[in-house]
């Protein structure tokens, strides 16, 4: 198969009494091609995390199929709330976790140490190898996990709500970093987010999810009021500001920006542009 991951007709329910079992995903199709940069958007409880866990293999679907390219290595950046930050592990140890050992002994080789130093330098967190992972800021911790994926040779990087709880600057830096990893290393990126304006609007390909796939395509096709309302269950309006789509709640809340709003040019979306001044 040429795709990295291919989901076809996937259904997933969490266990419970048959009548009470909650169907989280229903008839979901998703293809992740090499080099893709895809965002999954949807409200809380829409099945985003479940979908990512199906992609990584942490879950098996109740029905349908999930096919991964043979030998596919996936780097996974979980939601920061799910990580045990008190675990006694240094940045260097985390970075090397997914890398096949260079020899049969537990300690890292000088070449591995150099590789860690180089990737930390590249990701903007140099010299932190010996620091405890829990001592870092949220943005730095995410970079360490991205470093782990790079050092493991992952072809697909999966991130679950990477901008949840981070400030604007960290979100901006993370988006640049992911775009760089995608472009320079050819690593496909698949992330979930409910951050429409700060993150999803900058991605080249989106999947709007609410138990089912509501729409998929570039933001120009997904960021339309009918799709957003079907996805989020609330009326939304889409404006264009600085060349990027801007989603606002309901028709009445957009008046202050109406003077700058215009139709969205599809070709104007590029993750490498990251955020523009507003």
């Amino acid at each position: 198969m040429s795709a990295l991951v291919e989901l076809a007709g996937v259904v997933h329910r969490y266990p419970g009494a048959p009548a009470a079992a909650v169907t989280v995903l229903e008839d979901v199709d998703l293809i992740v091609e090499p080099g893709a940069f895809t965002g999954i958007v949807g409200p809380s409880g829409s099945g985003k995390t479940t979908l990512l866990r199906l992609v990584t293999g942490a879950l098996e679907p109740v029905a349908g199929s999930v096919a991964r390219r043979e030998g596919l290595r996936i780097g996974y950046v979980p939601q920061v709330e799910t990580v045990d930050w008190s675990f006694p592990v240094s940045v260097g140890e985390v970075a090397l976790m997914g890398r096949p050992p260079a020899h049969r002994w537990p300690w890292s080789t000088p070449a591995e140490k150099r590789a860690v130093a180089d990737v930390l330098q590249r990701l903007g967190i140099p010299g932190l190898e010996r620091r405890h992972i829990g001592d870092l800021s949220g943005g730095q911790q995410q970079r360490v996990f991205v470093a782990r994926a790079l050092l493991s040779g992952a072809e697909l990087l999966v991130l679950d709500e990477p901008t949840s709880g981070v400030d604007v600057r960290t979100r901006h830096d993370l988006l640049h970093l992911l775009a760089d990893v995608n472009r320079t290393d050819g690593m496909a990126v698949l992330l979930s987010t409910h951050d429409l304006n700060g993150l999803a609007a900058h991605l080249p390909h989106l999947v709007a999810l609410n138990r089912r796939v509501i729409a998929a395509g570039p933001p120009s096709e997904v960021f339309v009021p009918s799709v957003l309302e079907a996805t989020f269950g609330a009326p939304m309006e889409v404006l264009v500001h600085g060349g990027l789509p801007l989603v606002v709640d309901g028709p009445g809340s957009a008046h202050p920006l109406h003077t700058h709003a215009h139709a969205l040019p599809p070709h104007d979306l590029d993750p490498t542009r990251a955020e523009r001044p507003r």
Binding site: Y76, V89, M97, P106, H132, D135
Partner: protein, 278 residues
């Protein structure tokens, strides 16, 4: 001073001391994974399961290491497999399997009542109960466990820190979980002769918990816990002889004292501004 060295003139003490040091180191090493995975109750339960195997083995005339070993490994793997299915939490499965094993041992002893005196040593530990064959057996177990941990160090660390991410990265987490259970069963098997089934869990937990207080890195914790376990085992055995108390009690009390000392040291270090990285 001559009184201090007196026990070294007896072969039974030299055997007991050697096994206490080896078993202490073994428990310290494996205990690191036990503590970080929150499996302390499993260590406690497995010692009871191994007792059941030893008791049944004595009734049917099978040697301790064969009977207790097979029973302990089977119990560990059954607990791991059932708990992984997710219907029952691990502590419930441990409660059922290990107490049933213990009860089977007690029932067999009550019904046929052979070799009871020897099994008291398995319950509470004994210097006299350690033979040259025990030294060799525990030595083989210890070397085997060290080699396995060294060879799988990075994968074990990854699966302990974040099993879901490790699975996504291609690690065979279920096999690593089984491996951890086997290592734990072997550690319990090698330790029970000296410390006794009732106090094995202390040998597993105390060195790792103590070392965790002194370092925030995994590698140093693993090595430090092994050293602390060996020292506490050896010094506890000496104290057992000179104070005329069972070795299990002496080793456990010494370990508890070291843990209290480490707690105080950590509190002092944390109270200082700009605590240096450990």
């Amino acid at each position: 001073m001559s009184g201090f060295w007196e026990p070294f003139g007896f072969e039974f003490f030299r055997n007991g001391l050697t096994v206490a040091v080896l078993a202490g180191a073994l428990c310290g090493l494996v205990g690191t994974f036990v503590v970080l995975r929150g499996m302390s109750y499993l260590g406690h339960g497995l010692s009871h399961a191994v007792f059941g195997g030893a008791a049944l083995g004595s009734v049917v005339g099978v040697g301790y290491y064969v009977a207790a070993g097979v029973w302990g490994l089977a119990s560990a793997l059954v607990i791991g497999r059932v708990a992984r299915r997710g219907v029952l939490r691990a502590d419930a499965v441990i409660g059922v399997v290990t107490t049933a094993s213990f009860a089977a041992g007690v029932a067999a002893l009550s019904r046929w009542g052979q070799a009871r005196r020897g099994l008291d040593a398995v319950l509470f530990g004994s210097i006299l109960g350690v033979s040259r064959a025990d030294v060799i057996a525990v030595g083989i177990i210890a070397v085997g466990v060290v080699v396995v941990v060294a060879a799988t160090y990075r994968a074990l660390l990854f699966a302990t820190f974040d099993p879901e991410v490790a699975r996504a990265a291609g690690a065979r987490v279920d096999r690593l979980d089984d491996l951890t259970m086997v290592l734990l069963a072997l550690a319990v098997l090698g330790t029970m002769r000296v410390i006794g089934a009732v106090l094995v869990s202390a040998a597993l937990v105390v060195p790792a918990a103590t070392t965790r207080l002194l370092t925030d890195r995994f590698g140093p914790m693993l090595v430090g816990s092994t050293i602390v376990g060996a020292l506490v085992g050896g010094l506890g055995m000496l104290a057992s002889y000179h104070l005329d108390v069972p070795p299990g009690a002496a080793i456990t009390l010494l370990g508890a004292a070291v843990f209290v000392g480490a707690t105080v040291a950590r509190s002092v270090a944390d109270s200082r501004p700009n605590r240096p990285q450990t």
